[in-house]
């Protein structure tokens, strides 16, 4: 048997002697299980001067059409002007009519009703109703919809978004392992559908690893709000770990003094690299490239090269390619893991290089880069300066987003959010 939470709201609550105590105002749960049991109810009495009392759910003797009957007497209850249940999950305050995340369909949804499952006197949270039928039922217009399907989401996939007023974070349900398994691309889409406060609350709740994976996928406005909220130290922490091109995309749109605050918190090497990248126009090869790649001296033997690759700890967008450089980091050639593995271990790596490797200069434009990638059917392009010294690489996904943006602009259409 399912009971709708909206039907329980405002039900009269009576004590042992069937004397009216007040109306049911709120139900509180402690979400430690997958389908949590109800923990307590809040009863309200009075019209102008409202007073509230919390009653444990075990205290319920029975429910019928007329209302809810308790085991205790009125005297045993303590009505107060305000009660605090900030740390608990309150169905009316946090779920009903609020926005929550559906971690199964990767969606932000608004809850029209909550279904409670009745199992021997106990009620537990079963699912939330997000369909038009639930909406109409609450409006008392059920007949209009007729045979429409209910749209329900099981409770275990629901992540509430209520923000703790002190820590300004969102409490992740303990059984909500699903939440952590949302792919970064979907999680960033979900974030952009949230209110500004919820966005920041959710982001602050995430661990560093997840933060790093989604930061580059957010739009600039959200990134900026987040950076301002978490401060330069934490922002630096994230920017250090994400690919350089994503970091510079963000930094070059931030106001100068904010960038300085953030760079201050990074190590000198990192700062030098980012400031150099920031100097290039955003649609030039220099602006698009990343400096996260593996470059190995041409005289290294294959075995040593493979060891270097194994130990490379920094985030490398394209692991399969290895760039071969000569003296002063001059660009010599390109090889890949397959070529290295099939070569004999004591060969020098310059002998494994591909023939005819295309490359671009720092100031070359997007179109030039895209053209070369298409012509040579390659997934990365090395970028060199006038002295033919390797500066960075451009990967096909960076070019793709640029080219798509250009193509869309040409057909006068906006890039849809879900691509």
């Amino acid at each position: 048997m399912f009971v709708c939470f909206s039907k329980l709201l405002n039900e009269p609550v009576m004590d042992k002697d069937r004397e009216l105590l007040g109306k049911l105002y709120e139900i509180i749960t402690v979400p430690t299980e997958v389908y949590p049991k109800l923990w307590a109810m809040v009863v309200v009495r009075g019209i102008f001067k409202k007073r509230y009392a919390t009653i444990p759910w075990d205290n319920v003797r029975e429910r019928d059409k007329k209302g809810i009957y308790l085991k205790c007497k009125k005297r045993a209850l303590n009505f107060q002007d305000t009660i605090d249940y900030q740390d608990k999950l309150a169905l009316r305050r946090d779920i009903l009519d609020q926005q929550v995340i559906d971690t199964y369909n990767y969606n932000v949804i608004r809850v029209n009703d909550i279904h409670l499952l009745e199992v021997n006197q106990d009620l537990m949270l079963a699912h939330v109703d997000i369909g038009v039928k639930g909406l109409m039922r609450r409006l008392g217009l059920e007949k209009i919809v007729g045979k429409a399907q209910d749209r329900l989401v099981p409770w275990k996939f629901i992540q509430p978004l209520s923000i703790n007023p002190v820590s300004k974070t969102i409490k992740i349900n303990i059984p909500q392992k699903n939440f952590r398994s949302i792919p970064p691309a979907e999680l960033s889409d979900i974030m952009m559908d949230l209110d500004p406060k919820q966005k920041i609350g959710l982001f602050k709740t995430l661990d560093l690893d997840t933060r790093i994976r989604i930061f580059g996928r957010l739009d600039f406005k959200t990134q900026r709000e987040i950076a301002e909220e978490i401060g330069p130290k934490d922002s630096a922490e994230i920017l250090k770990e994400i690919p350089d091109d994503e970091a510079t995309d963000f930094l070059e749109r931030m106001p100068r003094h904010r960038v300085d605050f953030i760079l201050e918190k990074m190590e000198t090497k990192e700062v030098k690299k980012l400031s150099r990248l920031l100097g290039y126009a955003s649609d030039s090869a220099g602006g698009l490239m990343t400096t996260d790649y593996i470059a190995i001296d041409k005289n290294t033997i294959v075995e040593a090269a493979l060891n270097i690759i194994k130990e490379a700890a920094f985030p490398v967008e394209t692991f399969q390619y290895v760039y071969i450089t000569g003296e002063n980091k001059k660009f010599v050639g390109l090889t890949n893991i397959r070529r290295l593995i099939s070569a004999s271990p004591d060969e020098v790596i310059s002998s494994t290089t591909f023939p005819n490797i295309p490359y671009v200069h720092l100031e070359d434009g997007v179109q030039e880069v895209a053209y070369l990638m298409e012509k040579y059917k390659c997934q990365t392009l090395p970028v060199v300066n006038e002295g033919h010294i390797l500066q960075g690489i451009i990967t096909i996904d960076d070019i793709l987003s640029q080219v798509i943006a250009i193509a869309w602009r040409k057909t006068r259409r906006k890039v849809p959010r879900t691509l």
């Binding site: 009903l96 009519d97 609020q98 926005q99 949804i109 608004r110 809850v111 029209n112 997000i130 909406l135 609450r138 409006l139 007023p165 209110d195 500004p196 406060k197 919820q198 406005k221 709000e225 301002e228 006068r412 259409r413 906006k414 849809p416 959010r417 879900t418």
Partner: protein, 408 residues
């Protein structure tokens, strides 16, 4: 925080300005211009003082909206749904849709009238403008076009100039402005008063303004700049309105010409103020009407979908947000199509929009006061006691005005 110099402050203000000024300027829509012209032509300078209470009321209400937006980061429909439940939110949205359809209609009527003044037939102009608006918003080019409208609002300065050119009797203007006169016995006079207030303070504005401030992502530290934005916007709209009344009073009222629409007013003005001024009135009406007609349908769709929990936003595809696109298209299409029906009585259309606004306004204001005094939502940014008293006086008078307007 480091103390900022003058220039950084000015730059910051320029970056944050917008919502208040846009909302206020959309306020001077077709209905507004019509009401102000009629007021000036039929009552002379007598009602100029009304702009003082209107200004104060407008600032107070808009300020509350911005504050709620900045502190909660949520739209008004969102908050109504979350705090008052689905039933209240639903019926509020139904009335909002009706009121906004009527408002959209009134603005398409304005477009039609402006077209006639400029010699363009309404059967051509209205559909073209409607399709253009629809396309612009759905394709996401609206944000850039909005700036054009905003710049076009600068032409309203011309109203002020023509106010001077019309050589009004300044001593009379001044004495009427500073000494309120109220003729409770005259029904027409009371109606005019309600019309002036009603056209300047409409319920949809609260929804629009709050959404715009949320969208802008203004933070509480910078809230004072936002307040300035609201105040400047409110002054702009009232000064322009003031001068429209002055122009019409100095010419039409003096010559004893009575009018009952913006079009009549513009036509009647031509001999007094010359051809350029006449064109100005026509273009002003056209700009104001198109501006409002582009904002109203989309603002309706946003509010309703927000409140009902449907997918929304022009960056979603039709398949993803069907309710949103349907509502948007529906409000826009109805507004335009009804104006094209032959022999459509425009005066009742305007009246109906006033009534729908009048019913909704008290509720919206009560919701706002309850929300803004909610400690859980607003923390330390709830209203002060004095401010609350002021607001209750404002709301009390607005509600009684609405009731008088509807039932008398």
């Amino acid at each position: 925080m480091v103390k900022k110099g003058v220039w950084p402050r000015i730059l910051l203000f320029l970056a944050l300005m917008g919502p208040g000024i846009i909302t206020a300027n959309v306020d001077n829509d077709a209905g507004g211009i019509a009401t102000y012209s009629i007021c000036g032509a039929n009552y002379g300078y007598k009602m100029l003082w009304v702009f003082v209470p209107i200004l104060i009321t407008l600032i107070i209400i808009q300020e509350m909206c911005s504050r709620m937006a900045v502190v909660t980061g949520k739209g008004l429909a969102d908050l109504i749904r979350e705090e008052f439940g689905v039933r209240i939110a639903f019926y509020a949205m139904v009335v909002l849709v009706l009121a906004n359809i009527a408002n959209t209609m009134a603005n398409f009527a304005g477009i039609a009238a402006a077209g006639e003044l400029l010699g363009i037939g309404k059967y051509f102009l209205v559909p073209v403008v409607a399709i253009l608006i629809w396309w612009m918003v759905v394709k996401g080019t609206y944000k850039s076009v909005e700036k054009i409208f905003l710049v076009a609002c600068l032409f309203y300065v011309a109203y002020i100039i023509s106010g001077f050119l019309a050589r009004p009797a300044w001593d009379e203007v001044f004495s009427n402005f500073t000494r309120p006169s109220f003729h409770l016995g005259q029904k027409d006079f009371v109606f005019m008063f309600i019309g002036l207030v009603g056209t300047t303070i409409a319920p949809w504005m609260q929804f629009y303004q709050q959404a715009a401030v949320v969208e802008k992502g203004i933070k509480i530290e910078n809230y004072n700049y936002n307040k300035l934005d609201v105040i400047i916007g409110s002054f702009m709209v009232n000064i322009v309105a003031f001068f429209i009344v002055v122009v019409c009073a100095a010419t039409l009222f003096k010559a004893g010409i009575r009018v009952d629409s913006a079009k009549d007013a513009a036509l009647a003005l031509a001999p007094f103020v010359g051809r350029y001024c006449y064109l100005l009135f026509a273009f002003g009406l056209l700009n104001a009407s198109i501006f409002a007609a582009s904002i109203l349908p989309i603002s309706t769709a946003y509010s309703v979908c927000e409140g009902m929990g449907w997918e929304l936003g022009v960056d979603k595809r039709f398949r993803e947000a069907p309710h949103f696109y349907f509502l948007y298209t529906f409000v826009l299409a109805i507004g335009a199509v009804i104006i094209l029906l032959p022999r459509i009585p425009l005066i009742p259309v305007m009246y109906f929009s006033q009534v729908a606004n009048g019913i909704l306004l008290p509720f919206v204001l009560i919701f706002m006061v309850k929300l803004i005094n909610n400690k859980r939502l607003m923390g330390k940014y709830t209203n002060s006691g004095f401010y609350n008293i002021l607001i209750y006086i404002v709301i009390g008078s607005l509600i009684s005005l609405s009731l008088i307007g509807i039932f008398v």
